[in-house]
Every structure is written in C-alpha cells, then in structure tokens.
C-alpha cells in the first residue's frame, strides 16, 4: 500500500468536502429559513470564480482579486434576491425550481457574453504555488492546504455566527418558526436578504478557491451544485452541523472511491471486470450513499422531523 498516495487522497477528499461545505452551508441556510430551493446557487459559485479571475488579472494579485471579488459577488447576490428571489418566497417549490433554473440559463449566457466561451485562468502567487512537506517524504501542494485551512476557518466563523451572535439567534429562530420571529418584531425581509447574501458570498468564495486549480469555466457550478444538494439532503436540510459532516463524508467517499474502488473490487472479481465496473460504481457512490441514508432516515442525518 502506498501511504503517501493515501494521505494525499485523504487531503484531496477533505478539500472537496470543504468546498462542498461552503456551497452546502448557504443552500441549507436558505432552504432552512426561507423554505426556498435555489438551483442557481451554483451560478454564484461560477460568478465568484469569474470575478476573481478578472480582478486577479487586472490587479496582478490573487489576494486583492479575492478580497474584491467577495463584495462583488455579494452585490450580485443582492440583485438576484431583490429582482427575482424575493417574489418567490410565498410560492411553492416547483416555482422555485423553475425560476432558479431560468436564472442558471441567464447567468451562463451572460457569463459567456462577457467573458467569451473559454475558461479563465487564475495565476497563483509563487509562495502558494509550491509544495509543502508533511512529516517525512510526503509532499502536498501548498495551495490545497491553504484551501483546507481557509475553509475550516470560514466553517468555524459560520458556526460562531450561527450559535453565538444575535443575528445567528434570529437565523435559528427563523428556521424553526418564521411567523413567530416576525411577530416578535424581527424584520424578516431583511433577515432573508442577509441570509441569501451570506449564502451567495460563501458560494462565490468556494468558486474563487477552486478556480486556480480548475480554471473558471461556463457552467462550472452546474455539476457541483448537484453534489451540494446531495450533501444537504444527507446532512438534513437546515442543519449547518449536518452540512459540515455530510460534506466531509461525501468529499472523502467520492475521492476515495475514485482512487481505491478498483483495488477493492480486484479482491473478489477478475481484474478486467474490476477495471470496467469500478469507475461506474465510484461515480455513483455518493448517490448510493444518499439513497441508503434516506431509506433509513428520510429527513437526513440531522434533519428536522416531519418536514
């Protein structure tokens, strides 16, 4: 067994999990509090990546680009909330799904009109571009470690925000009983907007962090958003804790499945069969996980009962 590879893959799984958490935490908050299904969440992930790419190219600094792209993504989030999403809170899920599906088309096409069909590269500063050695003979890319640490810091900040601040108290109260919160004098419209924008910025941040590895491309959010949905369904809708645990679980299982499932399969079937079936099964692994969890607990690991 190659232990170096195992550790690198574990870190990759953790990194994917962190990115998924950034996406899923916004989704789960928006759903938990406003009962709103936002398919266009992945578009904000894409918009964040493109903003960061352009700003980085203009300013010649990844950090400045990242710092300025965050408020820019927030502005897009505010606009989306104001123009479209706000009018849909009272509607049913079918309307949410359709309208935000329309938003995806709008965002994908607008991005293509502005930036053209090609992907945008984000150059990393030299000190992030190298390798960092962990213990003896294990080297991992510095940037991946940076993603993991940033993500953990954001997750911790979000946790403090939700559990320790007045805003967080209102958010949690809003998640359990919207009408009661507004009856107690909380400006529920403002609270909804704030939560939506927090979600937008978190999604944008995830996009900005992945873009130096994959480059920013049209429709980059449309695949990962499905995985983020899987995460919040597994974790239980509305639960930040559930989203975190499920994100790490899904990220690790996905990466591990892709790297080691063929080894596992070779133990009890022929090499050729293992090599053909392993990629197919590993691609389906997280969906199988979700099916199993929902079969046992229909509202997810930490979901509210009877939603």
């Amino acid at each position: 067994m190659d232990w170096t590879l195992l550790i690198v893959q574990l870190l990759n799984g953790l990194q994917l999990g962190i990115l998924l958490f950034l996406l899923a935490s916004g989704l789960t908050l928006i759903f938990g509090i406003m009962d709103f299904v936002n398919l266009a969440h992945g578009s904000l992930y894409m918009v964040g990546a493109f903003f960061c790419a352009t700003l980085t190219q203009w300013l010649d600094s990844f950090w400045l680009g990242l710092l300025l792209a965050l408020p820019a993504t927030a502005v897009v989030g505010v606009l989306v909330e104001l123009i479209v999403v706000r009018h849909l809170y009272e509607r049913d899920h079918l309307d949410h799904v359709l309208a935000t599906f329309g938003l995806i088309l709008v965002f994908d096409t607008l991005t293509q009109m502005i930036w053209g069909p090609d992907g945008q590269v984000i150059p990393l500063p030299a000190w992030l571009d190298g390798q960092v050695s962990l213990g003896d003979a294990i080297e991992v890319p510095t940037y991946r470690v940076a993603i993991i640490l940033t993500g953990l810091a954001v997750a911790f900040g979000l946790f403090i925000l939700v559990t320790r601040t007045r805003l967080g108290m209102q958010i949690r109260a809003g998640a359990s009983n919207r009408k009661m919160v507004s009856a107690l004098g909380v400006n529920i419209g403002l609270l909804f907007s704030i939560v939506f924008v927090i979600g937008a910025v978190l999604a944008g941040l995830a996009g900005m962090m992945i873009a130096p590895i994959t480059e920013a491309s049209i429709g980059m959010g449309n695949q990962i958003i499905i995985v983020a949905f899987v995460v919040i369904v597994i974790g239980g809708i509305g639960s930040i804790k559930g989203a975190f645990i499920a994100a790490i679980l899904v990220g690790s299982i996905d990466i591990m499945g892709r790297s080691y499932l063929d080894v596992l399969f070779k133990m009890f079937m022929s090499t050729q069969n293992a090599e053909t079936s392993a990629p197919a099964v590993s691609a389906m692994l997280i969906y199988i996980l979700m099916a199993v969890i929902l079969a046992v607990r229909p509202s997810g690991l930490f979901g509210p009962r009877g939603r």
């Binding site: 479209v84 899920h93 329309g102 096409t109 099916a291 929902l294 997810g300």
Partner: protein, 314 residues
C-alpha cells in the same frame, strides 16, 4: 354536440396541424419541418408522462430525463450488438424504465417536498454518470445508431414520415391512456393524495403504493418516448439525461399547464418552437429563454392552459 371552448378549439387545431403536417412537407419539400415536428411530438410524450406524476400527483420529479436516456440506450445498446428488432428495443426500454422507476421510487417516495426533488435528480445523475463511465458504449462521446428499429415489413422506420406517424399515433394513444388513468378510481386516489394525503390514508388507501404505481407508469411511458428519441436522433449520449434536460421537461409541463391533459403538449410545442426561432437569430438566445422562463413563473401562473381560459388549480 356541446360547443367547443377556446381550449377545445386550440387542442383540435394543434392535433389537426400535427396530423396533416407530412402532407404539407411533401408538397413544399421542406423536410426541416418534419424533423422539428418529430422532435416536438417525442418531447410532448415525455412531457405528458411527466405531467402524470408532476401535475396530477404533485410529485415534482427532477430526474425524468433519465428515462429518455434509458429508452434511447435501450435502442442503442442492442443495435451495437446488431440486434435491430424493434419489439425487443421497446420491450427493454419500457421494462428497464419501469424497473428503474420501481426501485428508485421505493426510496424517493418515502421522502417529501424538496428532498423528493433532490433525490429524483440525484438518481438521474447516477444513471448519467454510469453511462459516462461505461467506455464500451462510448462513454462521454455517446453512441451512434446507424440502423433504426425494425418492426417487420409493414412499418419501415427508416422512412422519416413513417417514424413521424409512429410518434404521433403514440402520442394520441398515450394521451388517451392518461385520460383513462386520470378518470379512473386509481387516478382519483392519486389526485386525492395530492390535495390531502392524510385524508386519503384515513379513508384506508395505501397512498404509497398508489403513488409508486403512478411513478412506475410515468417512467415506463417516458422510457418509450426515449426509445422513439433514440430512433429519431440516431446519436445518443449521456448528455440527454443531464439534470438540465429534466429541468426543460418540467418547464414544458409548467409552461403548458400542469394537471391538464393537453397542456404539456402545448408547452412542449411552444418550448421547441421558441428554442428553434430564438437560436436561429441570436447566439445568446438562452438569455431570452431564461428571462422568459422567470417571467412565466412570476406572472403567468397556470401556463398556456390558463391563458386559454382555464383556472389554475391550487
């Protein structure tokens, strides 16, 4: 004979136009319209089948395109092994779709609301990724179907007009079937459970089983549409089961009007025509399409059906 409403007239005119279209095409020689209409009719079948669960049963399935893909591959994979018998193709398409709907339905239908939307989407992505990673059948690149399904000597699908009429007659048959289902006792239970599931259960109906059967019927019908689509496009790829395709199917149903028999056909029709016209004159037509979609949701509750004078059901 009772007088026809505006809706009735539109239904009649659309069906007559579809029935007579090949004559128009053979007179003018514009093959293009036949191709467009075949696609329209096939997607209308898919939309009608989705409406059975989405409209009548309020089961918002976001994975219906998976059945189109399963149906198409049920033509493509046997053809890859040089099995061209159409009855086998259709049998596999319907059988596998029904089996897939049954197995996933067992899990999906335990959930409600947004979980249902997402788990149906996830299952369709599971099929999507499975086909992407099977190299034998082209993986990402898809599969070319060179010979269409063979149904003996009487029905030759290689002829485009024959294929069109097979699709059109299938649409009529499936519309009739859905009408019978909706007005049967079974259909009443499904619609009753849409309004108030607890009430139906306390009346003694096992609503889970009714919904499951309904879900399987819708899947099998869409699998059939997929088999027609495979014959029509002659090129199939996993891309046709992407979740955005499922979103388009939902849009067709909502655009036409949910829980009306003919609404999804009108929705699919308007969708295909708009797509064709817009993509013809602007590279970025999807922008208009997306805005149109949002406007329909915000302001046009009930879809085409309500524009024609039918009150949207709540």
């Amino acid at each position: 004979m009772k007088s026809l409403t505006l809706r009735g007239w539109v239904t009649l005119i659309v069906l007559a136009a579809l029935a007579l279209l090949p004559i128009f095409v053979s007179m003018t020689g514009r093959e293009f319209f036949l191709v467009l209409a075949t696609r329209l009719v096939i997607l209308a079948i898919a939309a009608v089948s989705l409406n059975l669960i989405l409209g009548y049963g309020r089961m918002i399935s976001f994975g219906h395109a998976a059945y189109l893909g399963i149906g198409a591959y049920a033509v493509g994979i046997p053809a890859y092994y040089e099995i061209y018998n159409g009855f086998i193709h259709i049998g596999i398409a319907i059988g596998v779709s029904a089996a897939f709907a049954f197995l996933t339905g067992l899990v999906c239908l335990r959930t409600r609301g947004v979980n249902f939307i997402m788990i149906t989407m996830a299952f369709s992505m599971m099929v999507f990724f499975a086909f992407v990673s099977i190299e034998e059948y082209g993986g990402d690149d898809g599969l070319v179907i060179e010979v269409r399904s063979k149904f003996g000597q009487w029905v030759n699908l290689e002829n485009d007009t024959v294929l069109y009429y097979v699709c059109f007659v299938s649409l009529l048959g499936i519309l009739y079937l859905i009408r019978r289902i909706v007005h049967s006792r079974f259909g009443m239970v499904i619609q009753g459970a849409r309004g108030n599931e607890g009430r139906m259960q306390s009346l003694g109906f096992d609503t889970f089983r009714y919904r499951l059967v309904c879900y399987v019927i819708a899947g099998a019908l869409c699998g059939y549409a997929g088999a027609l689509l495979g014959n029509f496009t002659s090129f199939i790829s996993p891309e046709m089961m992407d979740w955005t395709r499922s979103g388009e199917l939902i849009f067709m149903v909502v655009l036409g009007g949910t829980s009306s028999l003919f609404g999804p056909v009108l929705g699919a029709g308007l969708f295909i025509l708009l797509e064709e016209i817009l993509s013809g004159f602007w590279l970025y037509w999807q922008l208009i399409f997306g805005i149109f979609l949002i406007l329909v949701v915000l302001f046009a509750k009930g879809g085409i059906d309500s524009w024609l004078g039918r009150r949207p059901e709540r």
